[in-house]
């Protein structure tokens, strides 16, 4: 498809989105509403997935590194690193791309097809900025928080496995997760999270905003929002990892 057309139109839209809001008090209120809608309402899924994935990563690592030359605490170390570096920032962002992206695209898309966006425009409201900017700001604030929660819970999932099964002794897990901790890893993870948060909300906002037609097309837009947000997350994950860690 004409990718360049979409990229051009996306940047043109972003120029209308990222400007000083017409009414600051209204904007602040919207941001808080969106933090609730996009962030707090996703907390449940983040909690469940993080705990279980932390547990599974621990078990997998334990079984696959069962070698006399590797110290047992390496399991804890590997679990912590994969959760902080990759699992929490990237996988949680992909999950949010599905949950939040489809919500944004269908919300804005249905406003488009029922002329609510036209109504905003006619009133003199910058509809693109009004609808999309608070969502972007909300995600930039709340997604890092979700990812940090996910890191703790993921590591706790590993703790649960060590404490209640005989996959590995708890003391070894504990010394593993405290081994050679580098703060830069967290910084790297949060930079990724922030970039992904921007990609999810702006790409989904884009597909919602340019929905054409009726209810069926709203569905198409929200599918496209999820697909393209995910693709760009994966792509930028590679790019950022190369830039920040290499």
């Amino acid at each position: 498809m004409n990718l360049f057309f979409h990229i051009g139109r996306y940047f043109e839209l972003m120029r209308r989105v990222i400007i000083i809001p017409q009414k600051a008090s209204f904007f602040r209120k919207q941001v808080i509403v969106e933090i609730d809608n996009l962030g707090l309402k996703s907390l449940g899924i983040v909690v469940i997935i993080s705990i279980f994935m932390g547990g599974v990563v621990t078990i997998q690592t334990a079984f696959n590194t069962d070698h006399p030359l590797l110290p047992i605490y390496a399991v804890g170390f590997a679990t912590r690193q994969s959760i902080i570096l990759e699992f929490s920032p990237t996988i949680i962002s992909l999950i949010l791309a599905g949950k939040v992206g489809s919500r944004i695209a269908s919300e804005i898309g249905s406003m488009r097809v029922t002329e609510q966006i036209d109504a905003l425009e006619v009133m003199g409201v910058n509809s693109a900025g009004f609808l999309i900017f608070p969502k972007i700001v909300a995600a930039l604030i709340i997604n890092p928080a979700l990812v940090i929660i996910s890191m703790f819970l993921g590591i706790w999932g590993g703790w649960l496995v060590s404490a209640f099964t005989d996959v590995l002794p708890l003391s070894h897990y504990m010394s593993g997760i405290m081994l050679e901790f580098s703060e830069y890893d967290i910084t790297y993870a949060l930079i990724k999270t922030v970039v992904f948060a921007f990609l999810i909300t702006s790409i989904s906002g884009y597909f919602g905003f340019y929905t054409k037609g009726g209810a069926l097309d709203v569905g198409h837009s929200s599918t496209k929002a999820v697909v393209f947000s995910s693709i760009f997350i994966i792509f930028f994950n590679l790019v950022l990892t190369q830039i920040l860690l290499a």
Binding site: K23, T114, E115, Q116, A119, E121, V122, M123, G124, N126
Partner: protein, 247 residues
Amino acid sequence: MIKVVDIWKYFDNNAIIKNVTASFEKGKTNLIIGQSGSGKTVLLKCIVGLLEPDNGNVFYDERNFTKMNIADKQIVRKELGMLFQGGALFDSLNIEENVMFPLNMFTKYTKEEKLERVNFCLKRVNLGNINHLYPSELSGGMKKRAAIARAIANNPKYLFCDEPNSGLDPKTAIIIDNLIREITKEYNITTIINTHDMNSVMEIGDNVVFMYSGEVWWKGTREDILHSSNKELNSFVYASELLKKLK
């Protein structure tokens, strides 16, 4: 007063609006009539700038709207209210918040003043005690009236209505027509209404523009319509057998 001069609008190389020139007076209900597909909605969207005309200019009291940049357009738009064919109320807001929206956005009124204005507008359209209902909980006619309340909330100088009474029973339709007309006179608004309802035309058609396949085919007042010899206008006006006989 709104003037449109030589407006053309194309979709995929089809001219949908052809060379439309017309003026719409202040304090009058100006009607654009014509059969379905004649281009009324497209013309209205060109006037308010939701569609960019391919040629021609729109003037709001001598201000050339078409030539303005977005910032200047937004200033003019704060002076206009629009009623969409489907109402276009904000689903996520209740009726009170819907009507209050333009006030929240563009005025510095206190909370109490805004609420007072909202209740005044809702009363004006005969909607009481529904402040906390959501658009999905209203009937079609109530939605239309709530949308009118939102359109007039911020004292517009220009009011646009796209088929204000489509889908309504004849009695409610007349109530809404008269409401729009009263508001127009009361606040000296320049009002443009799209309709294909002959009842409305005869009730409130101060000035009438008849569109036929994208062109202005006839202009006049409602009194003139009955005596016009324009073939297409007559076939639009006297569409029903009953009316033909009456003529």
